[in-house]
Symmetry: C2
Subunit: 108 residues, 2 copies
């Protein structure tokens, strides 16, 4: 926890990746409490900026995310969680929140 | 571009994943200009909050990131880029900026 750098709003970026398929499922913000609860319980927690509250992912839907591994990036302001999802990550029912492709004008 | 939602600072989250290995390489912020430049050139661009300037990833190091596919998430405030990296993503020389494991107290 000591190496983590939270921004001016006390938040850092939390990325969720399926530990099995390696699909990136979602990204959300975490405050210190969310990181601590994730660490303590092994279940992904976030901070909801709209609701201004701690948020256990899947608390309502039942689609909890069991965290198998957690990596911090080189500047300490982002976490990458490898999870075993208990259901779709997205409220739309999609496995991942990233399901809309943007057309690229040029491929380099 | 019309579906993207930038925050109060005009930024959204850009996640970079290796299109081949599926490893998450880095995360950084993008403003509208960074998204547009990425779209136009097929090379990952970001917004540096510390330098307050547009940043072509690899401009100095040569480790450009060729973007093969770009997905936007369900609420339009994050982009996931699948890239072909031309070298390590991290300034430390690591392939990914996520190379430090956090111990989990409990695995759920």
């Amino acid at each position: 926890m000591n190496n983590l750098k939270f921004d001016a709003n006390g938040l850092l970026t939390g990325i969720v990746q399926d530990s099995d398929t390696k699909q990136v499922l979602m990204v959300a913000m975490m405050n210190a409490d969310a990181v601590k609860k994730t660490y303590q319980t092994g279940l992904a927690h976030f901070w909801s900026r709209s609701r201004k509250s701690l948020w256990l992912k899947g608390e309502t839907s039942g689609n909890l995310m069991k965290v198998r591994k957690m990596l911090v990036d080189c500047d300490g302001d982002a976490l990458l969680m490898f999870v075993e999802p208990q259901g779709p990550a997205c409220h739309t029912g999609n496995q991942s929140c990233f399901f809309t492709e943007m057309e690229m004008k040029n491929a380099a």
